[in-house]
């Protein structure tokens, strides 16, 4: 008997020691660990796509899911607030205090605007690219060498893009080009940032294809040669290297892959992102589950019934300002863009019905015209909003080249590109070959063409002219950095090297 017990004990002990060999190796099955994350080509594909996804979220805005220091439940579509809010063209018909503070460049006083001062998500996109550039070179399986090079080039592109976008918002920003960089980085001069962007873009341009397989939308929402050239051109404009900028855009034009869409194609372009005109955009598509709802898209704030559930207008361009910006429309209603960009709603119809859209886009009163450049289905909901967020567009690049050429005194070249855009809009061609007048007209044309398209404020800040259009900003303010957003408190945590923009040190 005793022997039997003894044997039982022994066998069970052996069983235990056998089973214990791998007992302590627990790996997650719901996700992967760092060691598992960089094994094959598909890991690399996913990681690069993730960098774009993070950048898309960075543009939409920071929420409390990203940092506990913000209380905002959902993103507002911050690309608008950075790129358009302070242009002086906008009003808030429903007297929203936060919008009003934003128009007046009071960016610190409102806690609700605080998330817009936080660049955390841009640096997340950058870190994701840093990780890709660190780890993907070691991956050998599951993709061709060509594809591998493309993915690495895309990471360079996106890293440059995120730095570029942040620099347009905050001015001097830290540069982070190494993975797991927990050093307290200080801010680098804007010019240094732009030079880094150009260098990174050059690396990408050498490798990236012009287009990928698949739809135009899919293709132009990733890093392509065109997008990288456009990025380079923009960065060079900030560096006042107009020849470089002009040359970069010339490459895009010469390739012939992009063209101006007809006016009738605007809905495809602005509602669906499906067009030959888009050079770089953020991908949204409800049919594959990538959409916004109430939060996350700027359409929430400027569309009303019949598109959304909103009963009143929250963000709009006043009627008098529309007539001022589009003088041709004011004169003879020739500018076809007005009807594409603005609509008047029949507010006499009850809130619970689909309100009809009036034939005359500016039929309504001063504060009642809806900005409708980007539209969605007329279903009175916020559901499934998937309008594109354009970053670079062919018409925009033509105008940028026109500006560069004008500044280089290549006036004919400049006029030609300007008039391509004007001709499409149905307004008379501009003929005055006078450099200052031409530069001014190009800026106005950019204002007309790119209204509400997240470019205007950057143009004005780049040229140091925000104070001319925004009465809340004085010339001295702008010299002190009022055109840039303040740096959030969070950026100062654990970072003794962080500094506040000069203007915002004194203007709380």
């Amino acid at each position: 008997m005793r022997n039997k017990i003894f044997i039982t004990c022994l066998t069970s002990l052996m069983f235990v020691s056998q089973g214990c060999k791998d007992w302590l190796d627990e790996l997650p099955i719901n996700t992967v660990t760092e060691d598992q994350a960089w094994k094959s080509g598909s890991d690399a594909e996913g990681a690069v796509a993730k960098a774009f996804a993070i950048f898309r979220r960075a543009l939409a805005g920071l929420t409390k899911a990203d940092t506990p220091s913000t209380t905002r439940n959902g993103a507002w579509g911050d690309y608008y607030f950075w790129g358009d809010m302070r242009s002086g063209d906008w009003i808030t018909p429903n007297n929203d205090g936060d919008w009003q503070a934003g128009f007046e460049n009071r960016l610190i006083s409102r806690t609700e605007l605080e998330p817009m001062t936080n660049w955390r998500l841009f640096y997340r996109a950058i870190e994701q690219c840093n990780l890709v550039l660190e780890n993907v070179p070691n991956i050998t399986e599951g993709f061709t060498a060509e594809r591998k090079a493309q993915l690495l080039a895309e990471a360079h592109f996106m890293r440059a893009m995120a730095h570029f976008y942040a620099a347009r918002i905050w001015g001097d920003i830290p540069i982070n080009l190494t993975a797991r960089n927990v050093q307290p980085l200080g801010r680098e001069p804007l010019a240094d940032v732009m030079r880094m962007v150009v260098a990174e873009a050059d690396e990408a341009i050498a490798v990236l294809p012009w287009l990928y397989d698949g739809t135009r939308k899919k293709s132009t929402s990733r890093g392509t040669k065109g997008a990288a050239l456009a990025l380079k051109a923009h960065a060079l404009m900030w560096l006042k290297d107009y020849q470089g900028a002009s040359d970069a855009i010339k490459q895009i034009i010469d390739e012939g892959k992009f063209s101006l869409a007809p006016i009738e194609g605007f809905r495809d372009m602005f509602d669906k992102g499906e067009t030959n005109e888009m050079v770089f955009q953020m991908f949204y598509d409800a049919s594959i589950g990538e959409f916004s709802d109430y939060y996350g898209h700027i359409m929430t704030y400027y569309l009303t019934n019949p598109y959304t559930d909103r009963g009143n207008l929250s963000l709009a361009v006043p009627r008098s300002r529309i007539l001022q910006i589009y003088p041709d429309y004011a004169r003879d209603q020739s500018d076809k863009r007005v009807a594409e960009f603005f609509q008047s709603i029949d507010f006499s119809v009850g809130e619970n019905e689909l309100r009809p859209i009036l034939a005359d886009p500016i039929a309504n009163g001063e504060r009642l015209i809806m900005f409708a450049k980007f539209r969605k289905a007329k279903d009175r909901t916020y559901n499934l909003m998937d309008g594109p967020v354009p970053i670079f567009r062919y018409a925009e690049l033509l105008l940028l080249k026109a500006e560069a050429d004008a500044r280089l005194s290549n006036l004919n070249e400049s006029l030609a590109n300007l008039n391509l855009v004007r001709a499409r809009a149905g307004i008379p061609l501009f003929e005055k070959a006078d450099q200052p007048l031409l530069i001014e007209e190009i800026l106005e044309e950019r204002r007309r063409e790119l209204i509400g398209e997240f470019q205007r404020v950057y143009d004005l800040v780049r040229l140091g002219r925000l104070h001319e259009f925004n009465s809340s900003v004085s010339e001295k303010d702008e010299k002190d950095g009022a055109g840039f957003f303040p740096v959030s408190d969070e950026a100062f945590a654990n970072n003794p090297n962080m500094t506040q923009t000069y203007y915002w040190q004194f203007n709380q």
């Binding site: 409390k64 506990p68 797991r180 594959i288 916004s292 109430y294 962080m498």
Partner: protein
């Protein structure tokens, strides 16, 4: 069967009686057990004769005796008693239960120990007395005030909520605002159980331990010091709570039944200005502060508005007297075959707040079989339970403005203005454990045990937002499996002249897996469906999984000489899957010594000294963290956003992984939190155990506390984890127990314990730099961890009153700029005057100073037990002293935003000193809802209050029914009782209850008041 035998014996006795009558001096007596209960069928007779009999059905025997005879009385399950007959008239013999012999032993980790030989700091609580007359959701709250150094606070009065237990001081830092608790390890009958799920996986709010019916617990042993706890290694740093469930005892079958019903009374609620008063207060605020062009809503001005004259008592409507019912029954017994124990219980605790409550259904069966002539003992335990907590979804709030109509008001009836919603939290647990003990040879015991634990939590909620009229449904299911396999060998020989040795060698392997499946939907149209239905094609839920395993080897050696000198040591090695390969194993040693000085010759003849022992111990134990994969550098695939969009998951249809920005990156160096504890103690019993004194002094240094450090935003990461902070807890513990019985009929037992604990952060990373935790309300308000200060210490803005005039607001002489208020707000007269500590003319996080310690200095309890004849009175009090708390609840009610009118109830401003005009000597700054800078913040030193309290927790009056009456109805023992729970609290705190405070010292306004309960019950033993 037994009764039949007893009856037969009785018949036999009756038949024999005439024969015995012939003899001389016939005496009649009674045989009872130690509680006075009669024993039927006990054998009694004169020693060394054949003159024997058994007791009859009333416990009486009749014997022929002469003076000097020695009576021998025996009964199964009781010690045999010998009594010399000295002509007493009433010969009642009391038999002591056999089981009592075991009472000298105390359960410790992986075994038991003779109390005399214990060298660690161990406290034992017998639960029977407590559970018989008290009712509670969980056993932890019943332990409140029972053990010196174990601080238990009931932070909420909500049924099913989790009390916090901190043994010997806090040693945990939390991420963010939340207050984290250093949780002890819970072990039931030798098996560590799932006591909490990590936050990410915690879908129900119910206390995980509330599924254990307190009535099933026999005793609870708290291992406080390292020498006692270190045998549990990596999870023992915060103490170990060993729970032993009730088992059958030898003797007659123990059948018991306990039924009680309690009435829960609503305590004092928040003060509310109702109707006219609220309207007056709102219009006063508008008059005083409203900017030009802003006028009051019509609700306040238009007397034809149906809400104008409304005065709803929301608290009165939603808080109501409720009923708690609790039933438990059990059958237990034991014999040579083994033992059996079956119990069932049901509790239904209805909350005083509308829609809230807690229900428990539990059953437990435990059997032991002795086989092969006691060579093998096989134990099986199966416990199955369900708890069901329902919560208020918040669609109906007690804080609504009194001007809003109640749901049953005619104005709104039928309009479904207030959708009640639903929130149910069901926890199921099945615990099965099986073990076999083999007595291999003399003194050598081998035990193998396998236990499986399965828990499931289901959370279903339906809520309808009043603002957007969107309905949101969530449904979650969480399953955890815990597998534990343990082998131990114990060799405990006794040799020579009182040498005793005990050697334990063991191994255990444990694996815990958790899986979560959750779906939720938000639909635009209000729906009453309580299940999740998908309005569109994207029918995607989410699931999550986590697992961890531990492999351990442990051993303990104890040596005692004549129970006078003791020395012991233990060593445990734990390997955990949570760590990187490099840091996988942790070693946890401990040593202890003890000296029973009372047994020395010097004390011979000093009868008053019954027992005296000095103990000392030192050891290391550990804690881990709840995130199983933290050290591995976990990647994140993203999750569905609130609209079930894939924006955070994929881009252009391609999904990928990014780092999980909150958990930092791979860190192979993350390892155990190690706790070094030294303990010196003394136990003294005096005057025939009438006075008992226990004293302990300890020092616990917790090293490498896991801490998150925020990283610069430019890194992309939010935080990184490090083994960083060192925390020191030092304390003293005193326990005095007395047992006074002035006369036979009167008994008075007291138990007083109190403990002093001081908590201090002794080291932080980066040259002891302050760690400012991120806060949901911005950088200026996070908690601060600083060396030299206690954990959770208040670092507040120092109040200097209120700015009475413009010129009191300081102006920077260099720049001419005025002092900038908190969060860059412009200061005005009537705002709080915070001291600008660093003189930079900006009030920000750098101006905070240490302002108080929310960790209680003194905690303790005082129990008094009086018995007189059959009456018993038991009073339990608990107290806390030297604690600072913040009345956040009131602050939250005094904070008004622009749209304040009609949103929430208001306190009656007359009761508070609120600043209105220059010269007002007020405590609270101006309530201007339009002023950004009113500076009513919780981090204001003005609102720190004394959190000390003395609480008479329960008072029980009980009466034992007379056995005579009972025996007629076949009941052996019966007690009726009435218990008052949460009787009275003495406190200085101006808020409702100084105990309902988070452990970091804030009275968060979500507080659910603690009901007062009057409980009536009857407990029967058959």
């Amino acid at each position: 069967m037994k009764t039949i035998i007893q009856r037969t014996c009785f018949l036999f006795t009756v038949l024999m009686l005439p024969v015995l009558v012939v003899a001389q001096r016939v005496h009649t007596g009674k045989v009872t057990d130690d509680s006075g209960e009669i024993l039927i069928g006990a054998t009694i007779g004169v020693k060394s004769t054949e003159n024997f009999t058994t007791t009859n059905e009333k416990g009486f025997y009749t014997l022929t005796l002469k003076v000097g005879d020695t009576l021998v009385c025996s009964y199964v399950g009781y010690k045999t008693a010998e009594v010399v007959y000295r002509q007493a008239s009433n010969l009642t013999i009391r038999l002591e239960s056999n089981v009592k012999e075991l009472d000298d032993a105390i359960v410790i980790g992986y075994g038991s120990k003779i109390r005399q030989e214990v060298t660690g700091s161990i406290s034992e609580i017998k639960m029977d007395k407590i559970t018989e007359t008290q009712v509670a959701d969980s056993f932890e709250s019943m332990l409140q005030g029972k053990v010196a150094g174990m601080n238990i606070q009931l932070n909420s009065g909500e049924p099913g909520s989790t009390p916090t237990i901190i043994i010997r001081g806090l040693a945990a830092v939390s991420r963010g605002d939340a207050s984290s608790v250093s949780e002890p390890l819970y072990v039931i009958d030798g098996v560590p159980i799932i006591s909490r799920s990590s936050d990410e996986f915690n879908i129900t709010s119910t206390n995980v331990l509330a599924d254990l019916n307190p009535s099933d617990i026999d005793d609870v042993v708290v291992l406080k010091d390292a020498s006692a706890a270190a045998i549990y290694g990596s999870r023992a740093a915060n103490g170990v709570i060993l729970i032993t469930t009730k088992k059958g005892k030898r003797g007659k079958p123990q059948i018991s039944f306990n039924a009680r019903t309690g009435i829960n009374f609503v305590p004092q609620l928040l003060d509310v200005a109702g109707g006219v008063k609220e309207r007056e207060q709102v219009s006063r605020l508008y008059q005083l502060y409203a900017p030009y062009g802003v006028s009051m809503p019509a609700m306040y001005t238009d007397i034809t508005n149906p809400f104008y004259n409304n005065s709803s008592d929301w608290q009165g409507y939603l808080y109501n007297t409720s009923v708690t019912q609790d039933y438990s029954g059990s059958i237990r017994g034991a014999g040579d075959f083994g033992q059996y124990s079956i119990s069932m219980g049901h509790m239904d605790n209805k909350g005083i707040l509308f829609n809230t409550g807690f229900k428990r259904y539990s059953t437990m069966a435990s059997t032991s079989f002795n086989a092969l002539k006691n060579k093998v003992v096989i134990n099986n335990t199966l416990a199955v339970s369900r708890t069901n907590q329902s919560r208020n979804v918040g669609a109906l709030s007690t804080g609504f403005s009194s001007l809003l109509p109640l749901p049953d008001a005619p104005v709104v009836k039928g309009a479904e203005v207030f959708k009640p919603g639903k929130d149910s939290n069901v926890n199921d647990r099945i615990r099965f454990s099986s073990d076999a003990t083999l007595n291999v040879i003399k003194d050598l015991v081998y035990k193998v045990s396998l236990s499986l634990e399965y828990t499931r939590s289901m959370h279903d909620s339906l809520g309808v937002s009043r603002r957007t009229l969107r309905a949101s449904n969530t449904s979650g299911n969480l399953e955890s499996r815990n597998l534990l396999f343990q082998n131990t060998v114990t060799y405990s020989p006794k040799f020579g002249d009182g040498h005793s040795l005990s050697f334990l060698l063991g191994q255990s392997a444990e694996k815990i897996e958790t899986k979560l499946t959750e779906v939720s939907s938000v639909s635009a149209a209000p729906t009453l469906s309580e299940t999740v239905k998908w309005p569109t094609g994207n029918s995607i839920g989410s699931s999550n999984y986590t697992a961890s395993s531990i492999l351990s080897y442990f051993s303990r050696l104890d040596y005692a000489y004549q129970q006078k000198y003791m020395i012991g040591g233990s060593l445990r090695a734990d390997g955990s899957s949570k760590f990187g390969q490099a840091n996988r194993w942790g070693i946890f040693p401990s040593v202890s010594v003890g000296w029973n000085f009372a047994k020395e010759g010097v004390f011979e003849g000093m009868d008053w000294l019954v027992n005296g022992k000095i103990r000392a111990s030192h050891g290391i134990s550990g804690t881990t963290w709840s995130n199983d994969y933290l050290a591995l550098g976990i990647m994140d695939g993203g999750k569905l956003d609130q609209y079930n969009s894939l924006l955070m998951i994929s881009y252009g249809g391609i999904a990928g992984f990014s780092p999980s920005w909150y958990d930092g990156f791979k860190n192979e160096n993350l390892t155990w939190v190690k706790s070094q504890m030294s303990n010196i103690g003394m136990d003294v019993s005096l005057f025939r155990n009438k006075v008992e004194f226990v004293f302990d002094a300890y020092e616990k240094l917790t090293k490498g506390l896991l801490l998150t450090t925020s990283l610069p935003t430019t890194s992309g990461y939010n935080e990184v984890y490090r083994n960083a902070a060192n925390v020191l807890n030092r304390g003293l513990e005193f326990t005095v127990n007395t047992n006074m019985s002035s006369r036979k009929q009167f008994n008075w037992n007291t138990g007083l314990n109190f403990a002093l604990n001081r908590n201090r952060v002794v080291a932080l990373p980066d040259g002891n730099a302050d760690i400012i935790k991120t806060s949901t309300s911005g950088q200026d308000f996070g908690s601060v961890v600083r060396t030299g200060a206690p954990l959770n210490g208040f670092f507040f803005y120092q109040s200097q009153g209120i700015y009475q005039t413009e010129d009191q607001i300081p102006v920077n002489p260099k720049t001419g700029a005025r002092l900038v208020g908190l969060q860059s707000k412009k200061l005005a007269v009537g705002d709080r005057n915070f001291k600008d500590q660093n003189g930079d003319y900006i009030i920000d996080v750098r101006d905070r100073i240490f302002a108080g310690d929310p960790n209680p200095k003194w905690t303790g309890g005082w129990t008094n037990d009086f018995t007189y004849k059959n009456f018993g009175l038991n009073v339990i009090s608990t107290f806390v002293a030297g604690r600072k708390i913040v009345n956040t609840a009131l602050l939250d009610r005094l904070k008004y935003g622009k749209g304040f009118a009609g949103t929430k109830s208001m306190p009656n401003f007359d009761n508070y000193s609120i600043w209105e005009k220059s010269g007002d000597m007020a405590k609270y700054p101006t309530l201007n809802p339009w002023n950004d800078a009113s500076q009513i913040v919780s981090y204001d030193s003005e609102y720190i209050e004394d959190g000390s309290y003395f609480k008479i927790k329960t008072a029980t009056l009980s009466y034992n029914l007379k056995p005579k009456m009972l025996s007629r109805i076949g009941v052996g023992r019966a007690r009726v009782y009435c218990t008052l729970d949460n009787l009275v609290t003495f406190q200085k705190y101006s808020g409702p209850d100084a105990e309902l405070i988070t452990i970091d010292g804030f009275d968060d306004s979500k507080g659910y008041p603690m009901r007062r309960m009057m409980l009536f019950g009857v407990s029967l033993g058959l």
